[in-house]
Symmetry: D2
Subunit: 259 residues, 4 copies
C-alpha cells in the first residue's frame, strides 16, 4: 500500500484525487492539506483536512499529489523535497524556472518529483502516436474542440501536439490556398508546419483530433475528455511509479507509459 | 423515357453524366455535344459526339445537361431556350447576371431551366438540416475538409451553409477567446456569426461537418463526397423534375427535394 | 413568469430541473415535492421540499415537472389532472396503458399533459432528420454508443430512430454479407430494414450516429449527450409550451419544435 | 534507381502499381507481365506487356511486384526465387502453406520475399497504435465500414486488429448487456475480448475505427481508405526495402515502418 497525502484536498480537483486514491486498492489516503478547508473531513475516511504539510510527515506519507495553484505548489514542493516525500504535480502554470528549481531541489532529496501538463493517458498517447505517424504522411492538421468558456486558442495540448508533429517530420506539403474567402479559415500555423483549428462549442468539454493524409488514405487520432475524472488513471499511475523514477525531476506522462 | 442530350460529353464530368443517364431505366441518351471531342463515340451507345447543339433538335432531346465551362454554357443555354429544350446546369462560375439572363430567356421559352451549385443530395440536405437546427443551439461552427489541391478556402458550399445558418438564427453566443496563441486558430468568421475552419488534406475529396452545441449536448451533421459520381443522383432527379418546374428558372436542388 | 412545481425535487434529475427553472428568466420555482427529501431546502430558493402535491395548489403552480419513478408519476399525474395543473413528464417506464389513461384524464381536465421519452433537443432533431433523409439513400445504419453500465442494447432512442427510418423509406438495399466471420458483426436488424450497432464504452455517456449512403456520398447525423443537463432546454421548452398545446395529451418533443 | 518488374500489369491493381513506379523518382519500370494483356503497351513508357516472367530477367529487374491471383502468384514467386529477383506480394488468398513454401524458397535464393495482407500504411499504423494503447483502457471495440458489395463481415483487417488488441491486454471489462432488444446489436465477439461492428454503406470504400475507453476519456483511431492508390506508398516502401530485409520471407508492412 502506497501512503498518499493530497494537497488542495478541499478543492474540486483535490477532492477528485482523494476519491481516486480511496478507490485504488494499492493506495491509502493518509493525509490531506488545504488551508481554505482546514478541519473538514475527507468523505469516506477518518482523515481531517489540515492547514499545513506537517501532517504528511506525521502520517508517514510516501507520495504527495498537488493539483493546487502555482504559488502554493512551490511552497508544497519545497517542503516535500526537504522532507523526502515524493511529489506528483498537475498544477497549471509551472514555469521553466520552476522546473529548474525542482530539478535542483529533488536531486538533493531522497524523494523524486514528477510534473505533467496533462494527466489524461489518452491525450498523451495521441500525441505520441501523432509524432510516430507524422513521417508517413504529407499533410497533417489538428482540430481541437473545447467548451465555450475557454479563453485561449489553440489549447496548450494542441500547441504541444503541433510542436511534436513538426519536430517529427520536415516534409509537410505546402498550403494550396491562394484565394482566402474568409480570413483565418485555414487555421493557426504552428512551427511553419502544422495548422491548428480551434472550435468552441457549448456542451463539449475537451476534445482533440489529429488528421494525417497521404495518397488515397487518411489516419485520424481523436481524444475525447468527458470529465475531470479522466485525469485520475494518469495520477494513480504517477503515484505508483514516482518512487522508481530516476533521481530528481521527471516531466510528462509519456515517460511513465513504457514499462 | 426522358430523351436526354449531354453537353461537354467528352469531359470527365460529362462522361460521368452520360454513364448515369445510360444507367437510369427511365432516361435515354439521345445526343452528345462537345466541340473538343466531336466524332468520338459515347461508350455503350450508338451516339456520336457532335460539334454543335443542333444534334439535340435532330434527336428530339427533351432535356439537356450542362457541366461545361461558363462561356460555353451561356451559348448552350441560349440555344436551349430558343429551341424549347429543358436545361439542367451544374457548370461552375454562373453569375448573378447569368441567372437574371436565364430567368428572362426561359420565361419566354416553352422549356424550363434548373441551375444548382451543388448536385450532391447529401450536401443539400445537410445545409437544410443545419438551418432548421440552428435556432435550437447557441453555438455553431463548420469544418470543411478537401483534397490538398483546392485553392479557395472556405469552400463555396461551406460559405453557403454559413450564410444559411446565420440567417436562420440571430442568437449565437459570442466568441470566448481572449488569448489568441496562433493567429487564425478560431477560423474564418462569416456573417459575424458562424466560424468556418478549412482543412486541406491529401487523400481526401470533399467533406463538410457542421457542429451545433447547447447545454450538455451537440448535434453534428457531416457530408462525405467520395467521388464525382456523388452528383449523379441529383442530376437524374433534376432531369426527371425539370419539365414540371414553374416556368422560367429554378435555382438549387433544395427546391426539388420536397414532393 | 410561469409558476413551476417540481416532483422528485430531491433526486439527481429533479435537482437538475430545479436548477434549470431557477436559471430561466421566464420561469419561477414555486413548489417542490419529494417524500424522501421532505423538509430539505431547494438550494438558492426559499422553497422547502414537501411530502405531497398539495403544496403545488397552495403555491398556485401552473406547470408541474415529473422526472420520478413510474409508480409515483401515476399518482402525481392523477393529482395534476384533478387540480388543473399542466404536467410535463420525463419519467421512464410510462406504458401505452399509462398514455391511454393520461389522455382520458387530461381530456377531462382544464390542464394539458406532455410526455416525452427523450428531452434532448438534438436527439429529437436527429431522429427527424434521419427520417426526412431516408428516402434519398439506399443504405442506412445506426451506431449508438453508451457508457458501459447500460444493460439494454440497442438503446430505446436507437430503436425509435430505426423504426422511423424504416417507416420513411421502403427501398433499402439488401445486406451483401454472405460470409459471417464473427456472428453478430452486422448488428441487430430492426423492422427488416435498419441495422443497429451498440457500442458500450467506459468514459462515454450517450451518443448516436446515423449513417446514410448513396452513390459516391454519405450523410452522417450524430448526437452527443455529455451530461444530464442536456435534457434541460427540452424541459424548459415543454414548460413554456404545455399550456398552449391541444387539450389532453401530447407525446414527443418533436411536436414542440415547429412553431 | 531500382529496376522494377510488375506482374498482372494489365489489371486494375497492376496498372496502378505501374503508375506508382513511374511516378517515383528512385524507381524505374523495366518489365511488365500479364498473359491476358500481352502485347499491350504500358502507358507513358516504352515497356510492352509480356506473356511470361522471362522478360524480368532480360530487363535485369531487381524487384518484382505481384498483385495478381493466388494461383498465378505461386508460379511467379517460384520463378523469382529461382532467378534471384526480390518479390513484393500483395495478392490476396496467400495461405499459411504458401508462406511456408515461400520461406523455404527464398531462404535458398539470393533474393528476398515480402508479403503483406494490407499495404495501406495508415491501416498498419492504426493496428500498431491500437495494440500499444490497449493496456491503458478497460473497454475497446472496433467499427469497420465498407462499400455495400463486400461479402465478408468483419473485414480481414478488423479481425487482425481485434486479435492484436486481444493479445495486447487481458483486462477488458465484461459486457454489461443483460437485455438484448435486437439480436446481434452488440456486434461480433472476437477472441472473447473485442467486439467488432461491420457497417455496409453505399458510397463508402474501406474505413475502420477503433474506440478505446477508460475513466472519463476515450481514444479513437480511424483509418479511411478512399482509393486503391492508398496502397501505393506502402508498395513503394516495400520495393525500396525488400533488398535489405533479412534473407528469406518477411510478412507484414509493420516490419518496414521502423527504420
Amino acid at each position: 500500500m502506497i501512503r498518499v497525502g493530497v494537497f488542495g484536498a478541499g478543492g474540486r480537483m483535490g477532492a477528485t484525487v482523494c476519491a481516486a486514491v480511496l478507490g485504488s486498492p494499492d493506495c491509502e489516503l493518509v493525509a490531506a492539506v488545504d488551508p481554505q478547508h482546514a478541519g473538514e473531513p475527507v468523505a469516506g475516511t477518518d482523515v481531517t483536512i489540515s492547514e499545513s504539510p506537517e501532517v504528511l510527515e506525521a502520517a508517514a506519507a510516501e507520495v504527495s499529489v498537488d493539483f493546487t495553484v502555482v504559488a502554493g505548489a512551490r511552497e508544497n514542493l519545497r517542503w516535500c523535497a526537504a522532507h523526502d516525500v515524493h511529489a506528483v504535480v498537475g498544477t497549471t502554470g509551472i514555469t521553466e524556472d520552476d522546473l529548474d528549481e525542482l530539478t535542483n531541489l529533488f536531486e538533493h532529496s531522497a524523494a523524486n518529483a514528477f510534473v505533467a501538463p496533462n494527466f489524461a493517458i489518452g491525450a498523451v498517447l495521441l500525441m505520441r502516436f501523432a509524432a510516430q505517424a507524422a513521417p508517413w504522411f504529407e499533410t497533417g492538421e489538428i482540430i481541437e474542440l473545447h467548451h465555450n468558456k475557454k479563453i485561449d486558442a489553440p489549447s496548450g495540448t494542441a500547441m504541444l501536439t503541433a510542436h511534436r508533429m513538426a519536430a517529427a517530420s520536415q516534409q509537410w506539403a505546402p498550403d494550396p490556398t491562394t484565394a482566402v474567402v474568409a480570413e483565418g479559415a485555414r487555421g493557426g500555423l504552428v512551427d511553419d508546419a502544422i495548422r491548428v483549428h480551434s472550435v468552441r462549442m457549448q456542451g463539449m468539454l475537451a476534445h482533440q483530433e489529429v488528421i494525417l493524409g497521404t495518397t488515397g488514405e487518411t489516419l485520424t487520432l481523436r481524444h475525447d475528455s468527458y470529465d475531470r475524472s479522466s485525469f485520475m488513471p494518469g495520477v494513480l499511475l504517477a503515484v505508483r511509479k514516482v518512487a522508481g523514477l530516476p533521481n530528481g525531476l521527471t516531466v510528462g506522462l509519456d515517460a511513465l507509459l513504457d514499462g
